[in-house]
Symmetry: C2
Subunit: 196 residues, 2 copies
């Protein structure tokens, strides 16, 4: 079935979004053209504006429109603690806990040798320079507890320790609200080893 | 967590896509800005171009960039048979069978009283005018076999029969390749009633 050229081009472009296959892309294009052309225009403008405006914070590498992000510029935050996270979404989760008042470094990724993502791609060198500003006393590694997140924490932690910095890792353990019976055994073993 | 304004605007705009929630939208925005800015620009341009160029065929209502679509203009097709489908995707499925050589009318939706979609929204009046062109001899209702698709077929079929047109419906029955044991009972009952 030949759709029109513009429609085919839109479906192809939508397929570049993560998690969107051929059928989803066609459904999205159909929905926008049939029911929400204003939404389509708004999305087009938001894409252009974000690509034009959004860059990385010179200090923490998260997305920002200024040269340094609002969090890094916030004088009320504790500059002696630096939390290393994989993504802005992880940073957002950490912020929502309300339990951390230091600063961040956002790797914008994680080590993934199989996907060709090495230390240079996640800005390890920039992190080392950032952490050695003379103010940071503790670096908290808050990468994920997946295989790739753990590998990232290991590599980053070794490099930071070699510079004489104090490095900590988020505690592994039983999630709040869980019954032990339903927690996986690896987590229970870690929680036992890290008991306090 | 306050992202930047442009990033928040992009996430909100992505949420207007069907099936995309807050986390998916953030993941899409992150992916585009971090790994595929060229894809973001391409998507923006494809959206603008599709909204500017794509309209509905004056004869069959499907998406087209001309006033009448290529299928309706194709002189080799059999104008005596008109197949009514819900969406361009359904039309595409019908075309891929290679078993239909007539023309189409695309409702661009289906009756859905709960969602406020009535006969006017799916162009029943336009279909009646199209079907009464003096050439069409048979209208084949190929709306879905869902509750809404069946209701649509019923309403459209009644209106067409009232104009004296011959109206048929796709056969209900056991899907090709199925073992009876695994086919739902409603389908088997219909296949029995429509045996040939």
């Amino acid at each position: 079935m030949s759709h029109t050229h513009s429609l085919d081009a839109l479906i192809q472009a939508l397929r570049r979004l993560p998690g969107v296959g051929a059928k989803s892309a066609a459904r999205m294009a159909f929905h926008l053209l049939q029911h929400d052309r204003a939404g389509a225009r708004q999305l087009a403008q938001a894409l252009e504006q974000a690509v034009d405006q959004v860059r990385h914070c010179a200090r923490c590498h998260t997305f920002t429109e200024a040269s340094v992000c609002a969090t890094c510029l916030d004088a009320r935050r504790d500059g002696t603690r630096l939390c290393v996270v994989e993504t802005p979404a992880d940073q957002s989760a950490m912020e929502r806990t309300g339990a951390f008042h230091g600063l961040y470094f956002v790797l914008m990724g994680r080590l993934s040798p199989l996907d060709g993502v090495g230390p240079r791609d996640i800005g390890v060198q920039a992190l080392l320079e950032r952490a050695c500003d003379g103010v940071v006393q503790e670096v908290i590694l808050a990468t994920g507890f997946t295989a790739e997140g753990e590998a990232t924490a290991h590599v980053v932690g070794e490099a930071l320790r070699a510079r004489g910095l104090r490095v900590t890792r988020l505690a592994r353990g039983v999630p709040v609200g869980s019954e032990l019976e339903y927690v996986d055994l690896g987590t229970i073993a870690h929680a036992l080893a890290d008991r306090r």
